[in-house]
Amino acid sequence: MSAVLRPTVEDLRLIGFYLGRVLTGLGLLMLVPVPLAVVMREWNALSALVLGAGIAVTLGALADAHLRSRRQLGWSHGMVVVALAWIVGSAVAAVPMHVSGRFSDPLAALFEAVSALTTTGMSVINDLDHLEASMNLYRHLLQIAGGLGILIVVLALFSAGGSRVSTLYVSEARDERILPNVLRTSRFIARVTAAFGVAGTAALTVALLVAGFRPWRALEHAVSLFFSSFSTGGFSVMQSSMANYHAPAVEVIVMLVMFAGMLSFGLHHSIWSGDVGEVRRHVETRTLALVGAGLVVLMTFGLVRSGAYTDLGAVLRRGLFTLVSAISSTGHQVNAGDTYLSDWGVLAPAALVGAMAIGGMASSTAGGIKALRVALAVKAVVHDIRRFLLPESAVVVTTYHVGRRRILRPDVSRAATTVLLLFVVSFLLGTMVALTYGGIDVTQALFESVSIGANIGISIGVVRPGMPSLLQLVYVVQMLLGRLEFVAVLVLVGYLLSFARTPRRRRRSA
């Protein structure tokens, strides 16, 4: 029985059961910063986090008690569970944020939660610089959970076997199963994250101590910086983001962590297994190297030509960091957002838009269209041109390397170009809606829309507290579509529409 065409109570029961598991996981995540809130005597943050956790765990436990089902997860269930998990999960994750009072309305709190979970990293929080440490840690925890794929992490923790949750794994915009089952894959992802976490946090702590931080604050910033950089989320502890540190060593370490975050976990596995040659052969590495080199040249030329920086060191430090931040989809900023518009000329921001749109690797924590799709779309175009140029009887075969050599089949190239086109439509939609408000020029509107739609987070000043509600809502939708790469959300829409269709059919038969 297809869930999309004929959703039944049993379909909803199954979906609700898995959704409950996700909410329980989210509830437990909310409890992580609670000890910090107690130590720092942040009583209102403590109440907010316990309230959110209580609601999430209650809903999860009720689902566990009443919605258990013997049915197997189908593809449509998986898609709907994933889409709902991100929507409902974001709504529940927004509870502690909204009761903190720092957001103008529930939509603003939802925006912040979606931005955190989708690892976009744009914020509409009021007075971040006086925020509780525990609430700040919570924002960053949401990013790492969202970056790794909250659903799969939660389900892997709760599940004994991976066969039923494999549909969720793929539905959550992960193309590559690294190990034979999802549970082992999830554990590998956790191991990689832990290893980078220990090394990255230690290196950042030392660099921050050298930069003048006191030990406790160095550790607090290091942990948050690691979470937001490896998840390619981009939230910051202070409003001034990376400009707060004035420390090249911190910037270099953060760049390395962002770089690690944008690599696919499949590639991480190859490197961990000693197959370093895979890095050279992988189509995404090649694409990113090529595109990255071009963008570095464009960015450098743009900054030098505009006269933004006369010192080559400054060009590289500001330009390269921002470019890595953009293409990894992290969104850390070394400049105030408005200065990209007022001080960087035209070419450098254009290079940033290109980097943001492309994004990192598929099956990584990064957002954007993804290097794999760009590569496949280009290869498909080249394939078609070759077919026209060669004799009709010639058999044209195009291949690409992801783990092994694969033949580019029409359905694969069609899927890549379709998602690529949907991203472009999302960017244009966000731009159009922003332009209808006036006071925002096309450069700002396009920059912000690409940054939001590709889950990057570099802002040029459109996103701010008190922004128009409709634009905020459109950006929320863009962030979710970008993170789930459209398919799961579109399946959910189809699923919901199927409810509307049923009565008419029934009326006709009557």
Binding site: V9, N44, L67, Q239, T310, R318, D338, V346
Partner: protein
């Protein structure tokens, strides 16, 4: 995980019950609306403590009425025209980032709260001086509940001999010292890798760092206790259902 249970779908009703599916959907929407309602009510009932007194009573005027944006591609005449409108006073972060070229290499005055951390190195200390309403007018959020947007501030390098007695920087529950600095604004400070900074020459403490205590919200605490108790009951209920 074994997802089998007494309420298994395989033995469920043969005829789909459409009404129940719609009620389930409606219930989900109502649940989300209820969540928004509860959190809004909790936000509305939070203690509305008085805002802090303005950190500085007689703040000097800003160099421009409002930020005037310029672009790097604008000809020098455009920037010169904005420069003609400058009046004596202090710069704000918003005015500077709207048109950094205008102030590059100029002597400026900036007033703001020290927030985050005082990073003592490089022959002085790096600080961020915020000049947003939380810094200069309302005080830190939490002590009051007025929302006034993002923080805005400028990076300032204070020379040795000027930063030793600043006290703790502004954070949760504390307003940092409010400083008035005079110095040269560097649009792309080579010593800071191209950062936009003020190299301060003189520093005056207009207001010392003070605590800004946050009142505990009893309604929120009660709601949290009820939610926690409900969660425990729900978990026990789920456990019992699993066993039976």
């Amino acid at each position: 995980m074994s997802a089998g249970g007494s309420a298994g779908g395989a033995t469920g009703p043969a005829v789909p019950r459409r009404g129940r599916t719609r009620w389930a959907l409606l219930g989900s929407v109502l649940l989300l609306a209820g969540l928004a309602g509860i959190t809004s009510a909790l936000d509305a009932t939070a203690p509305r403590a008085d805002r802090s007194a303005p950190a500085v009573a007689d703040l000097e005027p800003t160099v421009l009425e409002a930020p005037i944006p310029c672009r790097r591609s604008d000809p020098d005449e455009v920037v010169a025209a904005i420069a003609d409108r400058l009046r004596p006073g202090r710069v704000t972060a918003a005015i500077v980032v709207a048109c950094p070229r205008l102030f590059d290499g100029r002597e400026v005055v900036h007033v703001g709260e020290v927030v985050g951390d005082v990073l003592r190195r490089d022959g002085g200390a790096w600080v961020t001086l915020n000049d947003d309403p939380y810094a200069l007018e309302l005080g830190p959020f939490g002590a009051h509940r007025e929302r006034a947007g993002f923080n805005t501030g400028l990076a300032v390098h204070l020379p040795d001999g000027t930063h030793e007695d600043l006290g703790p920087a502004g954070r949760y529950g504390r307003r940092g010292a409010v400083l008035r600095v005079e110095g040269v604004l560097e649009r792309a400070d080579a010593a800071d890798g191209g950062g936009l900074t003020i190299r301060a020459r003189t520093v005056e403490v207009l207001a010392p760092a003070v605590a800004a205590p946050v009142p505990v919200d009893p309604t929120l605490a009660a709601a949290a206790a009820i939610a926690a108790a409900t969660a425990v009951v729900a978990l026990l209920h789920a456990r019992r259902r699993r066993r039976t």
